[in-house]
Symmetry: C3
Subunit: 138 residues, 3 copies
């Protein structure tokens, strides 16, 4: 069996971390699939999907780490192509990755107690985002 | 068809890299699934799953790289919430990622000769870990 | 249903970014699977799979970011084991990750308009690479 749904929302721009765990869990329930996997994926190259403990401290720590590692205000060649000032967004997205696959057991995502599935808006401007959730199993 | 099992072990704390390849391969065999995928996932937000050539040099190089990129002794806001001193563990885990999906062909994981599936303990203390392995296919 | 194929190519060495999107899309079509997932994986521990907007600027920006984060010319213990000078390649590969899972809807990968699936050659020398594509669904 397989079942798919899209989660849609607007982001406020750099760096918003959106907790989509409840949305994904609801889609798992709706699918009727008890055991299998859930694949969560962002179409687009300036956003990422990962997990994090969703608490206010880490929602600042992750962006600060990304700024240290991939500074916004250094030279990116991408700007020569598009002049949209988001070269750092693209590079961050490629390193974190656009998707995540989570096992499902007895109708539930096998997440840790404090572990949440998040979309990370890495682009420099507001975006309308659509996240694909694909459930496969029995 | 789908089949699931949990791998349990204790870690010694920061940074232990646990080779779970043989455990995952054994679960693939037990599943009877010949062609499909194996999804390996850690419930929890201070551990990660990836692959590496499991040799003593790299078991030091990866931790040293993580310490350069996400130093332990800088300020993390996460500490204001929990005072558990593992802000860097969480950020590292979000960037590496909590899971991995590997194709299965003829009953075998399609890993490279030297490529091993590992759990990376990023937390600062000893943990009891349970890794979920979900096999899907035919 | 499930279907698998291998994509083979030669790389020129560090850091070549190979766009495999059309190959993966063709394998999805050939599979006849309309809804499900596609898992793209590199056997080997010095290459990575991710997505990126495949334009000349970013093809320089990603390598430059990796060199800033994981410099080639610092000490790696891996060299003491093998003397092959690619310790940085291994560490980069473990952080980016060896695989990617993408949802399939109506026979198409759910990629963004500018988002391409790429193999990143992180090794220091030319390699013959085989990428596994496993399609699962209905």
């Amino acid at each position: 069996m397989n079942y798919s749904e899209t989660i849609s929302f607007n982001t406020k721009g750099e760096i918003e971390i959106v907790n989509v765990t409840d949305n994904v869990a609801r889609i798992v329930k709706k699918s009727g699939i008890k055991n299998g996997i859930g694949c969560v994926f962002v179409p687009g190259s300036t956003g990422a999907i990962t997990t994090i403990e969703y608490e206010p401290g880490l929602l600042q720590d992750l962006p600060e780490a990304l700024e240290r590692l991939f500074p916004k205000n250094i030279e990116y060649r991408h700007h020569e192509t598009w002049h949209d000032g988001n070269g750092h967004s693209h590079v961050r997205a490629s390193v974190i990755g656009p998707g995540l696959t989570v096992p499902i057991k007895n109708g539930n995502l096998t997440l840790g107690t404090w572990q949440q599935i998040v979309f990370v808006e890495l682009d420099v401007r507001k975006r309308k985002r659509e996240i694909i959730v694909q459930i496969i199993g029995e």
